[in-house]
Structures are given as C-alpha cells and as structure tokens.
Symmetry: C2
Subunit: 243 residues, 2 copies
C-alpha cells in the first residue's frame, strides 16, 4: 500500500473550483495515498466513528477538498468541466463494496426524457471516481484514498446503460414502477431511496393517473463499477494506489 511520508503534507487550497480538468486531476492525484483523517483536518471536519449516522460523509469531505461547489444542484459537481465526482468504497482487493448512486428516478417526468436528455446519461458522461479503502475493520480516519480515475463510458458500456435505461423508461411510463425490483438491469438498477419505507412520492399508474409510491433512484451495480476499475487499473503503470 502506498503510504505518504509525513513530509508529504496534504496542502490544498480549498473553496475555489478547479479551472481545468488538468487542475482537477492534479488535485485528485495529490490526494491519493492520504487518509480520510488528513482530509478531515484540511476541511475542518470531525471524523465520525462509523458511517451509520454519517453515510455521505466521505463524499462531502472529498467534494470540499477538491473545490466542488458543495451541492450545485441539477448539474455535475464541476459544472464548468462537466465532471461528476464519485467516491467509491473498495475492499482489500480493490473491488467496490457498494453500488453507486446516480440520481433519483423522475417518476412522473421520465416520459418526457430520452436517453441523451436523461439525467442518468448527463451524470455518467464523465465521472471522476476516487477509490477509498473501506474494509470494515479499518478505522475511518486511517482509510486511504486511491488513484483517481476519470472515466467516460465506452461504446460497449453506453449500449448496456442505454438498454437498461430504456427498459426502465418503458416500465415506469407504462405504470409498472411498483413491479420494478433491484433485480432488473445489467449495469443500472432501480432501488428504493427515501427517508424510510413509509416515504411516498407521486408516480403514474397504468391508467396514467398519479398515485403515491416509494421514491426510487438509479444505481450502478457494484459488478459494473468493478469492471470499470479492473479495466482501467490493469493498464500498464497504473493501479488503484492502495495496498
């Protein structure tokens, strides 16, 4: 595992968005090998004991340390660059431990979308993945960030994503959203996402009438992101930068 020596202090100028892709990548490279504890110090946050009550903590602190304009809604994290940032928790073998949230399912509005205009496509066009050690027995403060990966879907990935998305479009717009389980989809899946199982949003039934149904979101399957990481980091002179 790559550990940075003490003299390689994590020095960053936060709060200003990166002016170019090169600058963003340079910042992300500088982060690699450093721990979440170090990142926390830089952004002035306490490290939580565990993630049970702080599930989005890693994503938020990494956004801030990279200068993402913390929650620029309905746009990529770096709007000028058209890049979406995703931290991805990995095990000791570098495999994703979780699926990756993409965006919520616009239950009543999806009928007005096409694949190229969809939020899923817009978010996934360019993603900066940052792997983060996530073996459960390692304390959060000592978990290290890996090498960043700026990814865009290739023709093969695009075909699969579009196929999945269009199948969901068909089901959702025809009123079958309640029959959609997380089993569907090769790369993309739809899962519940809300405050709890009682949360409700408006959806469309088979007659086109609105009704209350649990909120849902699109996720990338862990098997899909695993393949992305494998492909990229198996190139010569490349790697996760972790163990």
């Amino acid at each position: 595992m790559r550990k940075r020596a003490p003299e390689e202090r994590l020095v960053v100028s936060t709060s200003d968005p990166p002016g170019s892709v090169a600058e963003l990548l340079a910042r992300a490279d500088r982060l690699a090998g450093h721990t979440l504890g170090e990142v926390a110090v830089v952004v002035g946050e306490q490290v939580p004991e565990d993630f049970r009550r702080a599930k989005g903590w890693t994503g938020r602190v990494v956004e801030r340390v990279l200068g993402a304009h913390a929650s620029s809604r309905a746009e990529p994290d770096f709007p000028r660059l058209g890049i979406e940032l995703k931290t991805i928790p990995v095990d000791r073998e570098g495999r994703p431990r979780e699926s990756t949230f993409v965006c919520s399912v616009p239950l009543t509005q999806m009928a007005f979308e096409t694949w190229p205009t969809s939020l899923v496509f817009k978010k996934l066009k360019r993603v900066l993945f940052i792997p983060v050690q996530a073996d459960p027995d390692r304390p959060i403060a000592s978990r290290r960030l890996g090498n960043p990966l700026l990814w865009s879907p290739g023709a093969d990935d695009l075909a699969i994503l579009q196929e999945d998305w269009e199948a969901f479009l068909d089901l959702v717009t025809r009123g079958f959203v309640e029959s959609v389980t997380a089993h569907r989809g090769t790369a993309l899946q739809i899962r519940p996402k809300g405050k709890n199982a009682r949360a409700r949003r408006w959806g469309l039934d088979e007659e086109g009438d609105v009704f209350r149904t649990p909120p849902r979101a699109f996720y990338l399957r862990a098997s899909f992101t695993a393949q992305i990481l494998r492909r990229s980091f198996m190139l010569p002179s490349s790697g996760l930068g972790l163990r």
Copy 2:
C-alpha cells in the same frame, strides 16, 4: 372594544387537535378578546417588534394555540374537520388590510384539475377566519383577536370563485401565465410569490413546452373578504368583537 379582564386568563391545552368542529369553535371563542402577547406566552414565542422579518408569525402562533397540526401539508389545517384556518388583519373599522393567501398556482399541473378537484376549492370550502387588529401604530403584543367566523362560500360566492378560477385555468394551460397580472379576477387574483423577483419555477408556454417563470399564488382580494366579514358580522347579536 372588548377587553378581557385580567382574571379571564388565557388557559388552553395546546398541541392536541380539536376533536370536533364544536370544540374548535369553543377554543376560538375563548381566544377572542385576548392579545397576541397573551397568545405568544401560551405558545412560548417571543413577540416580534414588527412583521418586516416575521410576516407569518400571527398565523403560526394562532395555529399552534388552536392545536392545528402545524403545517399538515396539502391538506386543510384541521384535516379531520376539513377546516382551513386564516388569520385576517383588520383596521379599526374591521376591514381587511390585506388580501388572503390561498395556495400556490400549480403551473404545470393545473391542466389536470377541474374546479371541484382544485386546491383552491378544497381550501375555501370551509374556512375559519380569525380577525386580528392590525392598525400599524398599535404594538403587536397588544393587538387583540376578534370573534372567529366559520365561513363556507354561498352559491353566489361559489359562482364568482369558479368563474375566476376557470378563467385562470384557461390562461395558464394555454401558456399565457406571464400575461396574467393581479388586475384579473373578481374575488380571486394571481400574484407573484417567491423568495424574490429572481425566483423561478417551471411553467408551460404556448407550445406546451416547459420554461422558467416566477412562482405565483392565488389570493382572495381584500374587497372579497371585506364583504364576507361585513355580511356575517352585521347579523343581529354578532360582531367582530373588536372595538
């Protein structure tokens, strides 16, 4: 003006919703003649110096003292009773000093409504008006509540409201929302309502496409509510209960 003597202390059990219309009216009657300062003590709120930075304060404290389930969204304030609560600021002659907010205009959804299914109709079917002294030179803490008025629109009022609403429906669904000013409507009007003049929502243009436009809301004209108060409180043995 009716002033309650000190021994008539304002004693209420807050936090529990009234179980019947009779109970709600009894509570509202007990409030009449008491001041906003007294109400503030009961609900444990500070009285603001003026309303420039606390515009909805009166409505909120009166809701709470009457046991309205503070913001039961998309429903009347007393869902079990089907009653909407409105405080109404009146001058020394008992005339409304302001128009009355009804609900926001569902710009993209209005096409799917009819008068009987509309939120305007649902909210106005039964309203409990509570007059509140509002001459500008009277300190807020000493302003008194008047006699409550449980109102339902009569056939004449209903006809006017429906006519107004359907004219707005026509304009909004045909894409002319931006040409609607507060001059339109006999009883009901549409006015901007948002954080500020730069706020934007989605609306429908003449082609049926969505576009950004200022958020708007339905209001009852002061002249309309003035007539409601006049009619009701000019009945024998009835009155505002103020001066």
